[in-house]
Symmetry: C2
């Protein structure tokens, strides 16, 4: 399966090719944008991590996929690097050189990885990017400590140039980080609640995924001297892009192929996640929604959900689909994608940059994993 | 015991009264300084904590001693508040009003409490200020999450005024926070090592205790527009004061009265802490040091140290004292206290403020708990 279309029940892509707004050669263009983000930001990220005292530098290098558990260098999968690509484009949107966005790209990556280290521990997740998580390999104390260190490093990297723009960028990053933490708090609290509304779920996902993508999309512009109106518009683009991204992640969390997602089958169902397809299905009328509600209410109190057969999860997934949760989430991804594009309309920027931001938005909603 | 003198083997204070440099009425003056710091900073701290999403606001309020585990308001012990007092004096040292230091005081308190929440969890400490720690009451996930939130809040509080001074203050706070994290990493790694040198122990304590007290002592001045030379001198005062404070804490960690310290007897020995008296004793010549080294090497591999009798710990404490570890640490507190005072010599400031900084330094090394 070279290309995953994680959408509607008949397997078509969430955004059909004829609706994509960027140039037809976007696939190649996006690869180049992602590559540029990675190439410009990784050396700075590595130098930042090298500042950490031993053994935190080693633990962080393991987390980033630069070394294996024994400390040997590996050519790891360090993710798609959408955020660094956005941060550099954001600098260009303000008329600055892409390099101006690099400290922002690195700071956002550091905050993102701080949250992964802590969330994996809080959630008890044992795998990330097909590897054991840090707390599994190096213990909970190192996961806490290195997460803290990455968070502090993010501010350090931004503030060390001492400019007014750096102060503004740090303030936006701090607000985004607080939302990230709020989102994780909401996510944890939802696990203990029987009912979560669609609005609550969207708010949580906006905090947990939208806020940092919003920051990545504006931080380069702020560092490049953009005014608040421009920065806010770019933030809005990133925020809704984040919600589109998360809607698709929620689809993959139930119907994604393990080989592609790096997670177990029915991953979010196993973890009783109240993700968008689930809450949308539960909010629907009809017998499928009712039957689903009964099953999930029983599951909530069942400690043996880990022992369920594939078929038992398939039944739940089919009910979610029958109640319309899959289709609604797929539509929601399209709506958020459209809102993200709308946010760019009021912003003056070089036409090249605009085309690249549109292409990246398409990529995020029509993605392999 | 109205007044604890945690020093030499014959019970005299670390800094005898005739060597104290501040005015004779300092005791009353210091109480007023601490009270002022608490009065001006607590409402701002409470308002900051109120911004946290539920249930993080409740968990934080429990940690700060404002409510009990059931959520009822209590008139809790929220600590001595030396840091807020220092931050306000630091603003006055720059010729500003004490109020100018308030955001700095609150930010430092937030970072301090972020580190307590995470350290208590990493170290498995079940009690703090005579109460169950947050992870014991609300679980490890909340301890991680609320710690993260307090760290983010600290930056938010400082940066929201958007001034150049706020950016400089945040940068200094970030550097201090990174040192704090380095210090905790060193502290954890020392527990697994057989030998730690006195220099390594001082470096760790400088990071873990010195750096944040240094920041508290300079952050108000930075917010008040002081130049870097003045801010650095005030930092140096706070750094050495922190080391003096920690030396005394290390003495109390072995010989402190449980009723006063809120900890078990021989607390640091039970936790196999390689604190200053221990590493200084092990570095000494003679039979007591040799015997102590053998005992502690055996203890390091003994999982049943928690079952030791009072007498077994008393034997170790006596060997530390015989090898000179107690006396050396007591002298070290005096040396650091003197270095702290020296740092103020080159700084121009109102004479009142200087007297108050000297009085606070005396208070820190001649303290009840």
């Amino acid at each position: 399966m070279p290309y995953e279309h994680p959408s509607g029940s008949r397997g078509e892509p969430v955004i059909p090719a004829h609706e994509q707004v960027a140039a037809p050669d976007t696939r190649e263009g996006v690869t180049a944008l992602l590559e540029r983000g990675r190439t410009l930001s990784t050396p700075v990220l590595r130098a930042a991590v090298d500042r950490l005292a031993s053994p935190m530098d080693t633990v962080a290098a393991y987390h980033f996929g630069w070394i294996d558990a024994e400390g040997n260098p590996v050519d790891g999968d360090s993710g798609k690097a959408v955020r660094p690509a956005l941060a550099l484009l954001s600098a260009e949107a303000a008329g600055a050189a892409p390099q101006v966005g690099v400290p922002g790209a690195v700071a956002v990556e550091l905050v993102h990885n701080f949250s992964l280290l802590h969330d994996d521990l809080m959630d008890g997740d044992e795998q990330r990017r097909h590897r054991d998580t840090v707390w599994k390999v190096h213990g909970p104390a190192q996961a806490i400590l290195v997460g803290d260190a990455l968070f502090a490093l993010a501010n350090e990297i931004l503030l060390e140039h001492g400019t007014v723009e750096a102060g503004r960028a740090t303030r936006r990053l701090t607000v985004a980080t607080r939302k990230l933490i709020d989102g994780q708090a909401q996510d944890i609290s939802f696990e203990h609640r029987e009912r979560v509304t669609v609005a609550e779920c969207l708010e949580m996902e906006g905090n947990k995924t939208g806020a940092l993508l919003a920051c990545a999309s504006s931080i380069g512009a702020v560092l490049g001297g953009a005014d608040d109106v421009t920065a806010d518009a770019l933030e809005s683009y990133g925020y809704h892009l984040g919600l589109a991204f998360q809607a698709i992640d929620d689809l993959l969390g139930i119907w994604g192929e393990p080989a592609v997602t790096g997670k177990q089958t029915w991953s979010d169902l196993r973890q009783r996640k109240k993700s968008l397809p689930v809450v949308a299905a539960l909010a629907a009328e009809g017998s499928a929604a009712g039957r689903l509600g009964e099953l999930l209410a029983a599951d909530a109190k069942n400690p043996e959900i880990g022992e369920f057969s594939e078929e038992e999860f398939a039944i739940r997934a089919a009910l979610i689909e029958e109640a319309g949760g899959r289709e609604w989430t797929s539509q929601e991804a399209r709506r958020q994608h459209a809102t993200a594009l709308d946010a760019l309309n009021g912003v003056e920027m070089p036409e090249d940059t605009r085309r690249n931001l549109l292409a990246l938005a398409d990529f995020v909603v029509v993605r392999e994993r």
